[in-house]
């Protein structure tokens, strides 16, 4: 139960806002939203007694009264946000192209930009890909689009916790990517969510909340890659509560990545839910670098025979960051395979939590599932908590999980030192190499390279400290 005041507060906010939410006139959506706010009333924010949230305390979120993002901020901060969009690995690629403008446009990758959860059409990079619809959810809801009605909420388990319920109640905007039947999209679709710290000239810097909903529909036989980027103003402290639904039809292949570099003071709750039909394939990647408190859930239902998924994740944490990764792979059909690798690099007083559950349903025979979680602790205050879980109700299965927690191999360090590499540099090299395994799986060298750099910068201690260490 949520404390009366929290539930009531959100209920009141919902009643006040619902008239302005996109798609307000749609009866099917209205009932989903009613269901969402009602569920939140029952569930509240997950507390300490909730086993799934045992290691993640969200009382700071529950206790904050978030403001609504101010639409005017996006306009005021336009230049900064445009620079951030231009800095994405995708934008660089365009700049390097030395070809004719027309060809350049043909090769460019589209970027959908959302500021504080709202679509910012003027910041987007437009680049049409044949057979792929890339639009904002709010626009499609406004048009009463049939495809969205079919897909919206299809994967989301609203009752699983309060954040999912809140998203169901409030979600009105986000990216919609529909890859039509048989299409192979050669270029990546990028989605950028940017959170602002407000603009001093417009409104006081109150923490804001947004509930975005991204939907990717990969129709039968299609192939595509979608990358979601999360970033924002350094001073931003708000809550981003996102849900991404991936609906993958027969024989479709989807590569999906979430790159989270949210501001250091922000909270980021993200739930990716995927449903895979017969013969389809999902490659899911999660890279977590930012946010003070984050929780990223990836839930995959392998719903058709022959469906396969690969889940890769990397979390690199420093200072007092807390990142919780929670994955569930549900083998609901026979002949389904999954492979999962999550790696954590945890420095300073940061805390990395991993829960990975593999479920094999009764009669789901001929299953292969393999899961690994490896954690590297770089400092004495660092904490790793891991809960790999197997729930097996069928017998013709090969399931395994492995989990390790440790520090850098002393022999490797010795080898590097022996060859004249300073301790800090050796540590950085080895750590980036440790993380590299996951980044290589991204299948996008440009993105991997950018992330490697970002990771290297993150591991760099301040110069004075570094000198002291090298001298010793």
């Amino acid at each position: 139960m949520a404390s009366q005041s929290t539930a009531e507060r959100y209920k009141a906010a919902f009643e006040a806002q619902r008239g302005e939410l996109a798609g307000n006139g749609l009866p099917w959506l209205a009932s989903m939203r009613d269901d969402g706010i009602a569920r939140f009333g029952d569930l509240g924010f997950p507390g300490k007694k909730n086993e799934d949230w045992k290691y993640t305390n969200v009382s700071s979120i529950a206790g904050t009264e978030f403001a609504l993002p101010d639409v005017a901020v996006a306009a005021a901060r336009r230049a900064v946000i445009a620079a951030a969009v231009a800095a994405l690995p995708v934008a660089k690629r365009e700049q390097r192209e030395q070809s004719e403008p027309s060809e350049k446009a043909a090769k460019a990758e589209p970027v959908l930009v959302f500021v504080d959860g709202r679509f910012a059409a003027d910041l987007c990079v437009d680049a049409a890909i044949d057979g792929v619809r890339v639009e904002s959810l709010a626009a499609l809801l406004g048009q009463g689009d049939g495809a969205v009605e079919k897909a919206f909420g299809q994967c989301l388990d609203v009752g699983s916790h309060g954040f999912a319920a809140l998203n169901a109640a409030f979600a009105a905007d986000g990216a919609v990517v529909i890859i039509s039947k048989g299409t192979t999209a050669e270029r990546t679709v990028h989605v950028m969510h940017y959170v602002t710290a407000g603009a001093a000239s417009i409104s006081p810097m109150a923490p804001t909340v947004s509930h975005a909903r991204n939907i990717v529909v990969a129709e039968a036989g299609s192939r595509a890659r979608v990358v979601e980027h999360y970033g924002g103003d350094l001073a931003a402290t708000g809550l981003t509560n996102v849900v991404t639904e991936l609906i993958i039809a027969d024989d479709a292949h989807l590569s999906h990545a979430v790159v989270q570099s949210a501001p250091a003071g922000a909270s980021h709750i993200h739930r990716v839910e995927a449903r895979l039909a017969r013969g389809s394939n999902l490659q899911s990647h999660v890279v977590t670098l930012g946010a003070e408190l984050s929780r990223t859930e990836v839930r995959v239902v392998l719903d058709g025979e022959g469906a396969e998924c690969t889940l890769d994740g990397l979390y690199a944490l420093a200072d007092d960051q807390h990142a919780d990764h929670h994955t569930v792979i549900d083998h609901a059909a026979p002949h389904t395979n999954s492979r999962e690798l999550y790696k954590g690099v945890i420095d300073d007083d940061a805390r990395g939590v991993f829960t990975g559950r593999i479920i094999v349903r009764p009669d789901s025979q001929h299953i292969s599932a393999d899961q690994a979680n490896r954690n590297l602790l770089l400092a004495d205050g660092a904490v790793a908590e891991a809960r790999p879980q197997l729930e097996i109700y069928a017998d013709d299965v090969k399931c395994s999980h492995g989990c390790t927690v440790g520090r850098l191999n002393e022999e490797s360090m010795f080898y590097m030192r022996q060859r004249g590499v300073g301790e800090t540099e050796a540590r950085r090299l080895l750590t980036v190499a440790f993380a590299g395994e996951v980044l290589e799986e991204l299948g996008d060298e440009e993105l991997a390279q950018a992330l490697r750099k970002q990771l290297g910068r993150k591991l760099q201690k301040n110069p004075a400290e570094q000198q002291a260490e090298d001298a010793s």
């Binding site: 086993e51 009764p362 009669d363 025979q365 954690n375 602790l377 770089l378 400092a379 004495d380 205050g381 660092a382 904490v383 790793a384 908590e385 891991a386 809960r387 790999p388 879980q389 197997l390 729930e391 097996i392 109700y393 069928a394 017998d395 013709d396 299965v397 090969k398 399931c399 395994s400 999980h401 492995g402 989990c403 390790t404 927690v405 440790g406 520090r407």
Partner: protein, 485 residues
Amino acid sequence: MSKSTEASDFVDQQEEYKYGFFSDIESDVAPPGLNEDIVRLISSKKEEPEWMLEWRLEAFRAWEQMNARDGEPRWAQVKFPPIDYQAISYYAAPKDKKTLESLDEVDPELLATFDKLGISLNEQKRLSGVAVDAVFDSVSVATTFKGALADVGVIFCSFSEALREHPDLVRKYLGTVVPVRDNFYATLNSAVFSDGSFCYIPAGVRCPMELSTYFRINAANTGQFERTLIVAEEGAHVSYLEGCTAPMRDENQLHAAVVELVAMPGANIKYSTVQNWYPGDKDGKGGIYNFVTKRGKCMDNAKISWTQVETGSAITWKYPSVVLQGDNSVGEFYSVAVTNNMQQADTGTKMVHLGKNTKSTIISKGISAGKAQQSYRGLVQISPKAENARNYSQCDSLLLGDKCGAHTFPYIDVRNASAQVEHEASTSKIGEDQLFYCRQRGLSEEDAVSMIVNGFCKEVFKELPMEFAVEAQALLGISLEGAVG
């Protein structure tokens, strides 16, 4: 497909429960119900000192609070109807309860019961050199080899006797490892525990023989609440064996035991269990609810090793744990758990690393057949001060039949960067290729399955003391008879 169904039958040792009989001895049974008066009755029946009664009452009040607030814990992956704690009788003692000087004075019917169990005290005493403290229902009726143990200063007696003869020792250690308010069932046990074993090994003494106790649950509707306390003083060594069987009864019987081990610096305690209580019939009717709290505390350089073979009970809820408090201490857990038909087991271990250079090893093998559900649930915790801690865990599950389940829920919690923690788990059935390989070389399917299953469990069996290893292999062997063809 036929192979897996045949294979699923192989763990059918419960089908014809070998030890299902009920011996007709008049019991001195307390009326059903749980209240302060019952706690006082138990305490007075056992002629306990005043502090013991106070301790029990404190536990009872804590339990009442827990029961009123949350009720019995429901987090384990097991399902059972709510237990009516007021419908259980909390004390049963064989009526003829005078102090016995020798086996001759023991009720012949009781001795016959032990004969059926294959643990004739006479035989044991004469041949095996194992001291047996037989707990029949709740009161110890015979203790052997006391003399030999007394010569080296080892105290090995029933808990009630220990309270009479060595109250200070009991008082010093009781509840130091499993506190009164530890958990629902441990608290219940603290309030109403009936009897159990007490073992004290003085400093520097290596116990001259392996100690063993057989627990029995006899009279219907009497929950058995055993309390075991083993203290190994500095540099002492002891190996303790525990084995149990129970008669066939229809109504579920609650068993909530507490075992506490204290290993002082340099001490070594090895605790082995073969648990073969009545698991209920094929439809899940009857059987024992086995909700046990077992925990050991290791001081500097000490070692505690838990080895268990769990084949019985309708529901098992058991996590033998080690608190590695001292530097360089070692904890081990070796387990084979077999569940068949409607059995449910949620079992595992906790290794809590507090001291420096502490090491722990967990080897858990689960075999699930029929419609049974089995879970491994474990915790490995490395506290911030536990420098250079090391853990290795391996949990493997073997599935026999397509209606059973095997689950793994390890918790790994590391708060010190110098720790090395590894966890591995796998779940699979017997490979067709493994079977084929054996068949090809002329082994019958039955022998092949037996060989593969024994190989699967070998790592754990080799940790068992000799007699238990034989018993454990036999237990798996019996179940293989007639499973194929």
